[in-house]
């Protein structure tokens, strides 16, 4: 595979110098190493951004962090405790994009990109609706198959979509943007076919188990939040405790060299795309369970861009070769917090897109080596001792 431009990771922070040095030089070195260290800490800026946003929220509404544990059970039912509060809301609403960002981070780690996740969301939602309310979809006359079938089939189709993308990229060596563009264009059409371009409503009274996925409570948290947490923990453990994460990054750095080094490059690439598809499928199921409907035209529209954005905001360079799952989660949270901040502030809600645009462009510029070296040069002119 010939992916463009292997990313060279920044050098590790230099070891602190031997302490027996003169004080002025040490001060200069300390500043330099602080600068270098700041530049080499990928998660610093996302965390700062999130904290700043949360601070703005806190100043704006002091009750922002007021999280309560409330019993939502009606009188006479068993106790049913759930956390409530703005942060929980942000987590809950951000869950689909957080899931997709996990998958996207892996794919971007291999040096690829997955544009099809929005369409895959629509497909999994549509097939779930087809299993639950077949008469409102293209499966007229079929008996409803139940929640388990809906979820399994949704995930199966989404996984297949991922395999398809992976095979195009790894076996047929199609450029990832192009390979996933095919499904991005056609996938929504498939979802429209499944639902006959309708928006089937799934009655909650008939399918309480399906509604639980997007509206229920598990471990005192909304189910989507719990699902994201579990998936995230599992993914981080699998990629960082085994060599899988390293394999992915080596493929992103140089697919040919890693294949020569014995990394099963094709298999790992296909796995990354499959995982991304599965995450998108799960996100689609959560979304349609949340609204108890499947809209093939609107579900997941532009969500692929949100997921890519979340990964980029989280400090993962789009050139591949490195990925940070926690960064991706943070990125998705930043975007969702930004959304919520604008909605709860007095600004018109239409500002969201403009602010998002500014964030995207700013992130790109921050990641630009050219701009960084310019800044460092300007810095060294203004403050020569720091970089001496």
């Amino acid at each position: 595979m010939t992916f463009p431009g292997p990313a060279t990771p920044p050098p590790p922070p230099p070891q602190p110098p031997i302490p027996s040095q003169t004080t002025p030089a040490l001060a200069g070195d300390a500043r330099t190493s602080l600068l270098t260290r700041l530049r080499s800490l990928p998660l610093l800026w996302p965390i700062v951004a999130l904290l700043v946003l949360l601070l703005v929220d806190l100043i704006h509404s002091p009750a922002f962090f007021h999280i309560r544990l409330i019993n939502t059970a009606a009188a006479g039912e068993a106790a049913h405790w759930q956390f409530f509060g703005s942060p929980i809301d942000i987590l809950n609403r951000g869950a689909p994009v957080m899931l997709m960002a996990l998958g996207m981070a892996m794919v971007i780690g291999t040096g690829g990109i997955d544009l099809s996740v929005g369409a895959v969301m629509a497909i999994s939602g549509a097939i779930a609706a087809a299993m639950l309310v077949p008469n409102q979809t293209a499966f007229i006359g079929m008996t409803p198959k139940g929640t388990a079938a809906a979820i399994l089939l949704g995930l199966l189709l989404a996984g297949l979509a991922g395999v398809w993308n992976g095979v195009l990229v790894a076996i047929f060596r199609v450029q990832p943007i192009v390979a996933t563009l095919v499904l991005m264009v056609a996938g929504r059409g498939i979802a429209q076919l499944i639902t006959r371009d309708l928006q089937p409503a799934i009655p909650e009274s008939t399918w309480p188990a399906f509604a639980y996925l997007g509206r229920g409570t598990l471990f005192w948290l909304p189910v989507p939040v719990t699902v994201v947490t579990l998936v995230a923990i599992a993914t981080i453990l699998i990629t960082r405790l085994t060599a899988l994460g390293l394999f992915i990054e080596s493929i992103g750095n140089n697919p040919v060299a890693s294949a020569y080094a014995g990394v099963p490059a094709r298999l790992v690439t296909i796995l990354a795309y499959t995982f991304s598809g599965l995450c998108a499928g799960l996100a689609g199921l959560i979304q349609s369970s949340n609204v108890m409907s499947a809209d093939p035209n609107k579900t997941g529209l532009n969500r692929e861009l949100d997921a890519i954005l979340a990964v980029a905001v989280g400090g993962t360079a789009l050139t591949g070769g490195r990925f940070s799952l926690i960064g991706a989660l943070l990125g998705a949270l930043i975007m969702q917090t930004l959304d919520t901040t604008i909605l709860t502030s007095s600004l018109p809600s239409e500002t969201t897109m403009v602010v998002e645009a500014i964030v995207v462009i700013a992130i790109c510029l921050l990641q630009s080596e050219k701009l960084r070296s310019l800044v460092v040069r300007a810095f060294s002119v203004l403050w020569p001792r720091a970089t001496a």
């Binding site: 060596r173 498939i190 429209q192 076919l193 050139t319 897109m353 995207v360 462009i361 790109c364």
Partner: protein
């Protein structure tokens, strides 16, 4: 030896993606013609071009960007913003000419700025134009979330411009093409001439083929790359005029997802997404293929979803074909 070279030459032409595009187009039209009477009439063809005029115009813009090795995702949102700006300016009684000129200028400058950032800071064009897309859409929404109908006699006069072609042939009814069609054809001709016969056009191919080689050859890489994005913005401006003529109401959410269709049209027209290969003619054929597929789907009475699926399948076929051709090319180069 000469004989072998000639055979090789012929084979090379046969392998050109443009030929497969033409072949697909021919087959589709034949299919439509045999199956549905009246499918192949000039009238169908003209309405097809008029209906997809704004898609075609931005596709031509995007083609040049892709040729230079970049991508532009902002064109759909640019049309949304363009229609809103034009409609709002006319609502506030600015003259029609000023509204159109200001919109086109705004989007051209916007495109140039994106090009400047992409080239100046070597950031991925995918992300910067994605930011541009959000910015355009967001600004349009900030201006208004309503549909602004255009009620302006001057604009109506412009909308009614049409060109009656082949009057001496005495067709009944006389075929005529509306302003939308005229705009598309004009943009196509300008792009075609520019790509083939101007220094700027040749520079685009050189930059898209290999940016570092172009730089070493002393070609103005920076100027070319920025100009290409500006051109895409210009096309988006003209396309918003065309869209407004077709449906005289400005709305921020118009032309959602159009950028993808434009890229698909360019690829089906034989443009390589890695840059350096493609043509305006090819993109025009891609547009007609897109239109013909839509027509056939609607004639069949099938769900409109089939258009997307067929376009996706064609996209796949062309991508695999390009892949195969490239493998051939590298083998030729190695031999």
């Amino acid at each position: 030896m000469a004989e072998g070279d000639r055979v090789k030459q012929a084979l090379r032409i046969l392998r050109s993606p443009l030929l497969s595009t033409a072949l697909v187009l021919l087959l589709l039209i034949l299919f439509g013609w045999i199956k549905y009477p009246g499918f192949g009439s000039a009238f169908t063809f003209v309405t097809l071009i008029q209906d997809h005029s704004h898609l075609g115009i931005v596709a031509v813009g995007v083609t040049l960007v892709i040729l230079s090795g970049g991508i532009d995702l902002s064109v759909g949102a640019a049309i949304g913003l363009g229609t809103v700006v034009m409609a709002v300016m006319m609502q506030h009684h600015y003259s029609v000419g000023l509204a159109i000129a200001a919109t086109i200028l705004l989007l051209t400058v916007g495109g140039a700025l994106q090009g400047l950032i992409v080239h100046g800071f070597t950031v991925p064009p995918f992300l910067i134009t994605l930011g541009g897309m959000f910015l355009y859409r967001g600004c349009a929404l900030l201006i208004t979330t309503d549909q602004i109908p255009v009620r302006n006699p001057g604009f109506d006069a412009i909308s009614n411009i049409s060109y009656r072609f082949l009057p001496w042939m005495h067709f009944k009814p006389t075929p005529s093409v509306s302003l939308q069609g005229i705009l598309l054809v004009a943009v196509l001709i300008v792009a075609g001439v520019m790509l083939r016969w101007t220094r700027f056009g040749r520079n685009i191919y050189a930059v898209g083929g290999s940016e570092s080689s172009a730089l070493l050859m002393g070609l103005p890489v920076a100027r070319t790359k920025i100009a290409v994005y500006a051109w895409s913005g210009l096309c988006a401006g003209i396309a918003s005029l065309s869209a407004l003529v077709g449906q005289p109401a400005g709305a921020a959410l118009r032309a959602q997802g159009l950028e993808l269709d434009a890229i698909a049209v360019a690829v089906i027209g034989g443009t390589l997404l890695t840059g350096g290969v493609g043509s305006a003619t090819g993109t025009f054929m891609g547009l007609v293929i897109y239109g013909v597929i839509e027509k056939i789907v609607s004639f069949q009475g099938a769900l409109p979803a089939w258009t997307r699926i067929t376009v996706g399948a064609l996209l796949l076929a062309f991508i695999l074909l390009q892949q195969w051709l490239r493998r051939f090319a590298t083998r030729d180069a190695a031999a």
